[in-house]
């Protein structure tokens, strides 16, 4: 549990502090991994495999999120030639 919390923390700090959007996406992957570790730990403690089933779902959603997110990054980079989140202000009004 504490390992999972610590990994989650590192991911949150990465999201909040870094400016490269690719590294922010990797931090999100770290957060999802922390959740998975938590699920598997409960699954092994309670001797039931439901936790592992949910971890499989989390992995599927993470894969979908990574594909769409990286597609957005590519489309954005083609327009603006940057991956800095501070310069991403297309939707500002």
């Amino acid at each position: 549990m504490i390992l999972s919390a610590a990994l989650f923390m590192i991911g949150v700090i990465g999201v909040m502090v870094r400016r490269n959007i690719i590294i922010i996406f990797m931090s999100i992957e770290l957060i999802l991994n922390a959740v998975n570790i938590n699920l598997v730990a409960f699954s092994s403690q309670l001797q039931h495999v439901v936790g592992q089933v949910f971890a499989v779902f989390v992995i599927a959603v993470a894969a979908a999120e990574a594909a769409v997110g990286l597609g957005i990054i590519l489309a954005f980079y083609r327009n603006k030639e940057t991956v800095n989140i501070d310069e991403m202000n297309l939707m500002r009004w």
């Binding site: 909040m16 690719i22 590294i23 931090s27 598997v40 992995i59 940057t82 991956v83």
Partner: protein, 170 residues
């Protein structure tokens, strides 16, 4: 005893590489540290008795997602590093403060968990353990069939969406 030592060693490696992922300047190095981190997490899954999930972790994360990241890093060849641009409106201190708030929250939860005796008792092994993959597959295709199908539709939609987004012109 040996299991505890292995658990703490692998945990230390996982945290160490996670810190490296977040803190390195070079994005390619960061991706490579991410691969090592995922492999250590897979080792942790094996230690916790989830062999099927460990295999999935290695295949999907270390094999698939990381290759995707590497492709994007190489397609997005940066002429100027993203960290060089300094936004005057950037609130870095606010980011650190929010992270600290989440840290305090998690610490409170962990401390509370230690102070109060947990009502969850480890249940007696209900299912006869007959191979991890078999169990997971059985549950996935019986009780969780509808979530499974929805996940597959989500993956299909994400695939189409990624293609539409990354295509140059439609």
């Amino acid at each position: 005893m040996g299991q505890a030592i292995a658990f703490y060693t692998i945990s230390a490696f996982v945290l160490f590489f996670a810190v490296l992922v977040v803190s390195t300047k070079d994005t390619v190095h960061s991706v490579l540290f991410l691969v090592v981190d995922f492999l250590f997490v897979a080792a942790l899954y094996v230690l916790l008795g989830a062999e099927f999930l460990a295999a999935i972790q290695v295949l999907v994360y270390a094999g698939g997602i990381v290759v995707l990241y590497l492709f994007v890093v190489m397609l997005v060849n940066l002429k100027r590093p993203p960290e060089a641009y300094e936004d005057p409106h950037r609130r870095t201190k606010l980011g650190y403060a929010l992270s600290a708030a989440v840290l305090v929250e998690l610490g409170a939860i962990v401390g509370y968990g230690y102070l109060t005796p947990s009502p969850i008792r480890p249940a007696p092994a209900a299912l006869p353990v007959s191979g991890n993959t078999e169990e997971v597959g059985w549950l996935l295709y019986t009780s969780y069939l509808i979530p499974f199908e929805i996940a597959s539709i989500l993956l299909l939609v994400a695939m189409i969406g990624a293609i539409v987004l990354a295509k140059r012109e439609l």
